[in-house]
């Protein structure tokens, strides 16, 4: 296990290095600078290029960037008043998390609950309702859901605020107000997760419930609820865990659009602004951050399988 972990971490470092290199050079391919404004005089442009170290040869810049990166410095943003990229990312991250995390937790928990209910009462009313629910929310894209919520829940019935509002005491927005305004975006992302997790949980639990050891447990004299909680759900949970990884990624992708809809000042907003303004270091920084997050999540989940279920052989790292 330790060997495998170390191997994976080594691969992670190698992959990150490749990603950084790829990003660094690909983003420069089109040859434009962030200072392509006609208002900026050539002299000023040269000065700015010098200030951000963009005047040196690419290889020198690359080496310097890698050196800075080892120190945890992602460089400085060009458009955002010279702030450091890592600081910008850290200031935007809480908003992304505030919307994404409830979506994930809500989605996975409710999905498991509904899936378990559907499997236990298989063929019954709950099962049919849950299946219909799952089909509807798997096929309706999250952005359509978001638009529907905004139209009905916010504009027509005014139950929720139309846009997300970050907590800001000076404007009288308390932490709870902010939480309340994050419900709609979280729901828009979360409902898709509920149905995916539900379908998965249901099929796993149905399989477990039909197995012999459940019959044995019943024959031993355990009550039905006890069997389900102690034996069935526990065993069904292990494969369900595998879906949490893809779901986390789903949240990250989903938040790209949803943040735009609800005006969440999160990571994707930062990214789109950076691209729009040719803010080179910011684009690079956010790209690296996204990749890092992605790879670490995949790694953690892969390692967790091994911890949770020793039967899952991790040799070779193949899926």
């Amino acid at each position: 296990m330790l060997k495998y972990t170390l191997e994976r971490i080594a691969l992670l470092v190698l992959t990150m290095f490749l990603i950084i290199t790829l990003n660094f050079f690909l983003l420069r391919l089109d040859g434009t600078t962030p200072f392509e404004n006609p208002k900026i005089s050539p002299a000023a442009k040269e000065m700015m290029m010098k200030k951000y170290g963009l005047d040196k040869p690419m290889v020198v810049q690359y080496a310097r960037y890698l050196g800075d990166l080892l120190k945890g410095d992602l460089g400085k943003s060009i458009n955002f008043k010279n702030q450091s990229v890592s600081k910008l990312i850290l200031s935007k991250l809480p908003h992304t998390i505030r919307v994404g995390l409830p979506a994930l937790v809500f989605g996975v928990l409710l999905g498991m609950l509904l899936g378990a209910l559907a499997a236990i009462y298989r063929g019954g009313l709950i099962d049919n309702m849950a299946t219909i629910f799952a089909i509807i929310f798997v096929t309706i894209p999250s952005f359509v859901l978001a638009a529907l919520f905004q139209h009905y829940l916010a504009a027509e019935w005014s139950i929720f605020p139309y846009l997300y509002s970050p907590p800001d005491m000076s404007r009288g927005v308390t932490y709870w107000d902010s939480m309340y305004s994050s419900i709609m975006p979280a729901l828009a992302i979360g409902l898709g997760i509920v149905s995916s997790v539900m379908r998965f949980m249901r099929s796993e639990l149905v399989e477990v419930l039909n197995s012999d050891y459940i019959l044995l447990a019943r024959a031993k004299g355990l009550s039905k609820p006890k069997v389900i909680i102690r034996h069935a759900i526990r065993n069904a949970m292990i494969p369900v865990m595998t879906i949490i990884g893809p779901m986390t990624l789903y949240v990250i992708y989903g938040s790209l659009v949803i943040e735009r809809f609800f005006g969440v000042p999160g990571l994707s907003q930062l990214m789109l602004k950076a691209i729009e303004k040719h803010d080179y270091f910011l684009t690079l920084g956010v790209n690296i951050f996204y990749s890092f997050m992605f790879i670490v999540i995949v790694l953690i989940i892969d390692l967790l399988y091994g911890v949770v279920d020793p039967r899952i052989r991790l040799s070779g790292g193949s899926k």
């Binding site: 990603i19 952005f143 139209h151 899926k319």
Partner: protein, 553 residues
């Protein structure tokens, strides 16, 4: 037992006749034998959900083909039918062409259905009392001055209306004895009055009698009076004789036409992206799976692992950042193919490789000269020859300047960029599955048998391994299409979509979202069609999975 005896009594030998026994008949099947696909299709037809989705998909495809062909009353200025970059001519009642700016955001209106009360060209809207009473006054120096709050009195005088909208609260508008009346409360004195509606509004009011229906009124905490009315947009814009089935957007494009063009483009993007994913994925996966355990597989799979560990969005971000460069790249590819040059190169390379291969075999005495000639009938070679011919023809045309070098239009390029973005990492999943399947299959006896009979690696891959996984691949591809439609919409939302006049379901939903508060149907109709399409394809894929799975037989 008793029954048997009874039977015995009733039966006598002369009731039976001995027929000729034909041993060969024993081997004959009484039921017509079914091929794998016939059987799968029969089982698919037994699945209700799959059949219904098949019908829905077929309907949508038919609509995508014929839907935009004949837009009613909507030929373009140059007599062509709908194109992306042109808006339709709209004729007024007197047969004159209406100005583009005069028509915008018409709601759906369908003949027949409008009598039942929906799709009747009306929509609920919130109106400020200022719009209702004063209306859209011209923007010139005289009125600009009057618009200022301190000139309220002068404005009222100029327009010839009794009150400024800020001085009254409208409480009701209703019809009585064939006349439209308005109840209102004067804010300062508090008295309630009733006046003829026509006398209350200026000539610039957008809400002339008959063009709307009063529903509700409200006054908010700041004292602003808002009315909810059911507007008849067709009457207001003077196109009462027209029917835009799904309404128009602000340009105005006909939403009906755009919807079906959108379905067409979305399906096309999904199909092309899936095709690319699968051709790369299958080739790559088959080779990797076949050589599993050797360094070839190791290198190949490491590559996909590294590529796959880079999130899709990072690629997208890079592509958006260097969009002009990607544009130029795709354009050069399109041009190369358009002028036949790329095809020529490919053909020459194919031809060269094949010839070298054959010559090597001849030299090693693996094949005779006769066989060498026979091998050139291979379809690959046909392709190569055709490619060469086409290249020569194109070259000939080009040398005489008969081929416009600017063949690559913006539409094709933006279409290809989306496909390119989707296929960048899309093939990896296919590769993994194909490889796993091939590894499972390649140690089975029939492969050994084929090898014993002298089949070489490429023949085993093509003729023995690949046909065995095709069923699964069909299912996988069907599942891939809805996700590709979704991804296309997703790309539109983050700014890598088709340019504005073009239509795809994603673009339509996005435009609809922007216009949601003005005209919700612009969002709901494409969103509904998109969801139905995705649902139908998903259900069909489920049905196919069950039908193609031999274990379910």
């Amino acid at each position: 037992m008793e029954n048997d005896k009874k039977l015995d009594k009733n039966l006598s030998p002369d009731m039976f006749k001995r027929t000729k026994v034909d041993i060969t008949e024993a081997e004959k099947m009484s039921v017509e034998s079914l091929s794998f696909w016939q059987d799968a299709f029969r089982r698919l037809l037994g699945n209700k959900g799959a059949v219904v989705s098949l019908v829905i998909i077929a309907l949508l495809i038919i609509m995508a083909i014929v839907g935009p062909i004949k837009p009613i009353n909507r030929t373009n200025y140059d007599d062509s039918v709908f194109r992306y970059d042109s808006s339709p001519v709209v004729l007024g009642k007197d047969g004159k062409v209406l100005k583009k700016e005069e028509i915008f955001f018409l709601p759906p209106r369908i003949p027949g259905l409008e009598k039942l009360g929906f799709f009747d060209g009306t929509a609920k809207a919130k109106v400020s009392s200022y719009d209702l009473i004063v209306g859209d006054i011209p923007r010139n120096s005289k009125f600009n001055d009057l618009r200022k709050p301190q000139n309220k009195g002068k404005l009222v005088e100029e327009l010839g209306i009794p009150y400024h909208p800020f001085d009254i609260n409208v409480t009701n508008i209703y019809e009585k004895d064939g006349e439209l009346l308005m109840d209102y409360k004067v804010n300062q004195s508090g008295e309630e009055k009733t006046t003829k509606y026509v006398d209350m509004i200026s000539e610039y009011s957008l809400y002339q009698p008959g063009s709307f229906k009063f529903i509700d009124t409200s006054v908010d905490e700041f004292g602003a009076n808002t009315l909810t009315v059911k507007k008849n947009y067709y009457k207001m814009q003077g196109v009462e004789h027209l029917y835009f089935w799904f309404g128009t957007d602000k340009s105005p494009f006909d939403n009906w036409t755009r919807l079906w063009i959108g379905v067409r483009v979305s399906l096309l993007i999904a199909l092309v992206a899936t095709l690319i994913d699968f051709s790369i994925g299958i080739t790559y996966g088959t080779i990797a799976g076949f050589y599993a355990g050797t360094w070839i597989d190791n290198v190949m799979m490491r590559f996909t692992e590294v590529l796959g560990s880079i999130p899709f969005i990072v690629f997208l971000f890079i592509m958006i950042s260097i969009k002009p460069l990607v544009n130029a790249f795709v354009q050069s590819i399109v041009l190369a193919f358009g002028t036949g040059r790329a095809l020529m190169y490919i053909a020459i390379v194919f031809f060269a490789i094949f010839t070298i291969n054959q010559l090597v075999k001849l030299y090693r005495k693996q094949i005779s000269k006769k066989e060498l000639v026979a091998h050139y009938k291979n379809p690959v070679i046909t392709f190569a020859v055709l490619g060469v011919i086409q290249a020569i023809v194109t070259y000939y045309l080009k040398s005489r300047d008969m081929l416009n070098a600017n063949m690559a239009t913006t539409e094709v390029i933006s279409f290809l960029i989306i496909v390119f973005a989707m296929s960048l990492t899309g093939w990896i999943g296919v590769t993994r599955i194909v490889r796993a399947q091939i590894i499972k299959l390649r140690d089975l006896e029939f492969v050994l048998a084929a090898r014993t009979l002298g089949a070489d690696n490429s023949r085993i891959m093509k003729k023995h391994l690949f046909p065995n996984i095709i069923g699964q691949l069909v299912v996988l591809a069907t599942f891939k299409i809805p996700s590709a439609i979704f991804t296309e919409a997703f790309l539109t939302f983050i700014g890598l979509g088709l340019p504005i006049p073009m239509a795809s379901l994603g673009v339509l939903v996005f435009r609809g979202y922007e216009a949601m508060q003005v005209q919700p149907s612009m969002l709901f109709i494409p969103a509904f069609v998109m969801s139905i399409l995705m649902l139908a394809i998903n259900l069909l894929a489920n049905g196919l999975r069950d039908a193609l799975d031999p274990r379910m037989r």
